[in-house]
Structures are given as structure tokens and as C-alpha cells.
Subunit: 345 residues, 2 copies
Amino acid sequence: MELSDRQLKIMQAIIKTYLETGEPVGSRTISKYSDLNLSSATIRNEMSDLEEMGYIVQPHTSAGRIPTDKGYRLYVDTMMEDKVQEVENMKSELMEKADKMETLFKSVAKLLANKTNYASMVSGPRYKSKKVKFIQLSEVDSNHLLTIVVLDGNVVKNQMIKIHEPVSSENVAKLNFVLNTALNGLDVSEVNIAVIQSIKSQVNEHGGIVDSVLEVIANALTEDDDFEVYTSGTTNILKYPELTDKDNIVDLLDTFEERTLITQWKESDVQNDGDENHAIQVYIGNETKLDSMKDCSLVTATYRIGDGVYGKIGIVGPKRMDYEKVVATLQSLMKELDDIFKEKN
Amino acid sequence: MELSDRQLKIMQAIIKTYLETGEPVGSRTISKYSDLNLSSATIRNEMSDLEEMGYIVQPHTSAGRIPTDKGYRLYVDTMMEDKVQEVENMKSELMEKADKMETLFKSVAKLLANKTNYASMVSGPRYKSKKVKFIQLSEVDSNHLLTIVVLDGNVVKNQMIKIHEPVSSENVAKLNFVLNTALNGLDVSEVNIAVIQSIKSQVNEHGGIVDSVLEVIANALTEDDDFEVYTSGTTNILKYPELTDKDNIVDLLDTFEERTLITQWKESDVQNDGDENHAIQVYIGNETKLDSMKDCSLVTATYRIGDGVYGKIGIVGPKRMDYEKVVATLQSLMKELDDIFKEKN
DNA sequence: GTTAGCACTCTAATTAAAAGAGTGCTAACA
DNA sequence: TGTTAGCACTCTTTTAATTAGAGTGCTAAC
């Protein structure tokens, strides 16, 4: 069942009005607001049809209509206008903070929350496959050995190991050589028993230390929980009364505190990228698959720092969020992030 | 004006009842509840006096009384009973997560929030004076040099430096030697122009790289914003209706998101420690100096990992929080943390 | 196909009344 | 002199009832 041209226009009028006011919108409002020049009675008839088709509902008899998820989906997919966001000084603001990835992501989150007035979530980068690029052991003092592992993409992991036996500096050098020769270029699946045996056979002393080091490396390669998530503007969602039911709000805030959304982000493979600019996706209400988010929408974008190194940025707001603005903001932000990552290499 | 014995008993009865119920408590309740065997009329007279002295107030005429900050203070300072907290398996729970400081603090925060049903905040360690213990430059690939700085207390900082000119491995070794010789044992105030000049004079090439490295080291020594704060159970405060005034709750949650409390933590020098177990301090209402916290109380404890390396743990709840339980929980937690830090050394 | 008009429905706001809790005060009592 | 019973009074909370408002659906006319 196709929607007529007029029905589309009415839908657009309903949604736009509702996005602004948050109140159910009635036939009379539309008949005045839009340039259709139709009486409220005509609008009423059309609205009745639109309701039957599932695009709008009444909260109760004798109230105006509000869009359903399906209605929002229609809007987002087919009638959203491309808004060009003034790019202004986001980039310069971010560059200041870009010396460390961590602070960069934190300020991205904060910036987005401020610009949009919704809540934001930024995930740190994940790595599709992690390979060892460089290993270094250093004797920090007689009791401590520092293990440094650099992975593909120049991710640095370090961990202090407590040692009970002193190690001579020649042995440290030897360990470094053996470890680098044996492990460089390998990913986790390639570090098997044979490789480990080979390392151990070349280092006849300090078996315990080798074990510790290998453990650190294994952690560096497998660990997924260093996958940080930065949030900001959580309280912005309290500004929207439709989200402020005592019961729901706790769940919603918990979803943020627990970073539950990332579960989903891991699942959603970044498959259909490349075709679109930055794979901006909109999840409306239950499309998020999270019960606590049933009255919210989530807009996500994927950034990529290098090959197979990517992360997600998300904005959470009420279903009646200003999708145009959010999408435009994300789009221009992504461009700037691209630049920043390029400069940082 | 000293309080009589009877007045103290009445205060205690009022506060204990109020802690449980959160409702203003009336004279009749006290006359039944407490073992004073006094009629409600007598209690009323005493209450009237206590109100005049500023220990309790009525929210309105014809309501019961609730404690003022002064009243709570009296309770916390002089009438709280030492509750011994069953220590059970907190430690074993924590040890699992203790391989990395970061995850340890995260789980401490979570554990506290769960155990107490209030919100918790844990600050990562700070260092009274930071000294360079060990420096290492490593050539990771032809474009990148990894700078590693280990500070006193085995805090590791690392940063990747992008280089434009290739550096020979002899030069890297030389740089390492010069830097370590010149800087080890120094704190930020001691790295002055003379030291820098001395380094530069010993390394005639790669002036740009030396600059970058010195910048990294300077950052490592001065940076204070890597002072992480972990929070948990923020939504627990929504369980207490007296904190749920729409206006105030946003400020309060923002205080958490922004980690505003740390400002205060920095100021409050850890001076009067050592005398008390773990310097557990209770801030009631406005004693926190934060307007958003005026209806809350904050209980903090100081942990110390080593000499001059310390951090804070805090619990935030309504003013009528179960101080005995919170203090006891913190106390036993601190003991366990001591053990954990000792083991980790 | 469009529109005016009207009865009907449901919510939200307003008002009124009643119930409840607790105090302060007075007067009596030990 | 300290304690207590009793009662009038105050203020909040709860409940109920009424009203006003918004918006629809339907019918009949254009």
C-alpha cells in the first residue's frame, strides 16, 4: 500500500510538528500549519487512514496523533532533508585535546553532547586482528621487569612484572631478541604451543619470567575489555519529559552506566560500510533491541583510524530527536576525525 | 549549652528512626519506640528545646521533626556505634580483578555500590612528588619512536612519537643512556634549563626528537588529569525520594558525570592521616561545599599504595544514609586493599 | 472529494471536602 | 518542679466531584 503524495505531506507535517513540541498533534494544527490548504476534517480522514496503516497512533481517543516507530522510520528513510552543518571550530577544539587518544575521545563525547543536547557515547578503537609488532622487556629495578608490547596500529600495552630472581642485562637483551624474533607479526591464533616451546628452548633460564611475559602478551592480544566507552551528557535525557517516568529512567541511566549498548555494537559487524560515507545508522525505539531504550533513538557512526581499527560514536535522545541535526553533526564530525587521524598517522 | 542525657537519648531515637523511615518523626513514635518511658507530651517539650538549639527542624508546623546537619553531625561524632562488618569474600572477589590497577578500581567502585546501595566514587592514585625512575626510547618502526617513562612507584607512562628523520639504533642507545643519566631521580622542579642544555650538548643530532621526548617526560611529571575517577551505582541515589526533585537530581547526576567531587578531593590535603585508621571522613549536606550535594552525605576514605601515593574512595547517599554500615564497610575494605597493595608491591 | 457542524470521549485542571498527623498550650497531678 | 492528659488548632495529603478543553468520528450538505 503506497502512500499518496498528500499523505506523505501530512506525515511530514505531523512529524515535524511533533519533533518540535513533543505533544500529540491534531488535525486542526496541521490544517493551519501546512500549505496544503485542506480543512481539518479532510486531514482527519487522512489521519484515520494513516493510523490504520500504522504510521501514527493516538495516545488515547480524543488526543492528537503521534508518530509510531514505523512513522519515524518513514521520515528518516525518505523525507529527511540534508542539512549542512556549519563545521566551524569543532576541529580546532578537538586538536587541542588530540595528543592522547583517550582525551580525544573524551572531548568528542563532550562536544557531541553539548552540540546536540542529547547523550553521547564514544567507544575507543577496536582492532579486527591484533598482531605483535614489537616487544620490549626492561629491567626497571632489581625486582621489576617492565613488559611492553606494541601491536599493529601502534597500540601500546605495558605491564610491570614482579621478579624474584635477578636477571642480568645480557639475559634481558637475549630475551628481547628471542621474543621479538619468535613473535613479531603473529596474531593470537598463531601463538601456539610450538612457538612457545621454541622460545623456551632458546632461553634455558628464567622459565618463570618467560611464562609471565607470555601471559602479558596473550592478554594484550585477546583482551577486549580495554575497549573503553566514554559517555557524556547523560543528564540531557532528563530534559525530555517523555523519558522521565521514574521507572524507566533508572533503567535508561543504568544502560549508560553499564555501557550496555556496546554489547550491541560488538555484534553489529561493520559490514555495510564503505558504501556510505561513515555508515551512519539510525535505530528507532525498539530497533535498538534494548528494552530500556524503547522510547529513545540511537544514531551511530563508525570511525576508522586505520585498516581494521575502528570504533563507534553514538547519540541517544528521545524518539523525537532532531535527526537532521544529529546526522549532520555526526557527518561533519566524522570528516574532521578523519583529518585528525590522518595527521596523527 | 550541653545536652542532657535524656536529650541525647531522644536525639538518638529521632535519628535512628528517621534513618530507617525517611519520614519526619513525631513525639508519639519516640515515646513508644524508646525505652525512656516518657509520655509524648514530655517528648514534645524536649523536642521543642532541641529544635531551638538547632538539632532538629519541622518541615512544616504539624509535622514531625527531622535532623538538621548539626543533628547528624552530633550523631556521627558522638553516638554512632562501631559496627563490625563481616568481611567475607570482598577480597577474593577483588583479587581476581587486581592484575591491572584500572580494573581493580573499577571493581572496587562497583563492589561498594552494590554492598551499600549508594553511589560510589574511586579516584585513581595520585603522587605527591613524581620522580623519574627509568626512561626508555625504542624504535618501533622507521617512523615511530616509543617513549616510556617509569616514575617512582612504578607508574608507567608511554607515548608514541612520530619521527621524520630515521634514527640509527646506536643513536637510540645513546639517547637512552644520556636521558637516563641526566634525568633519573629528578622531579619536575629539578628538570631545569641547565639539565636540558646538558642533555642537548651530549646529543648533537636529533634536537627535534630530544625536544619531543622532553615534552613527554614533562607531561608525565606534571600531568594531573590522568587522575582517573571511577564511579558506580549512580542510579542508586534515585531510590531515595528526598533526592528526586526534578531540579536537583540533574545537578546531582551532573556532579557525578563531571566528577566534580575530585576538585574538593585535591584540595583537602591528606594531612590528618596516620592518626586515624584510614582517615575516614564524613561530610554532611553542605559540609561537602557543593550545592548539588546539599541533601546528600559523602563518606570518604584514603587508601595509600606506597609512600606519597594515595587516592580516595567515596560513597554518596542521602543524608539519612546508614553511616554505621558505610563506615564499617569502608573500614574493612581499606584493610583488604592494604593487603592487596602489599602483595602487589 | 471536500467541508461544516455537532455529539461524544477522554484527559487535565480546578475546586471542595474530608481525613490524618502532630503540635502547642493549659490545667491537673505527683 | 517535672510530668502528663486533653483538646483546639494547623497544615498536609487524600479523595472525590466538577469543569474546561482538546480532538475525534460521523453525518449531511456542498
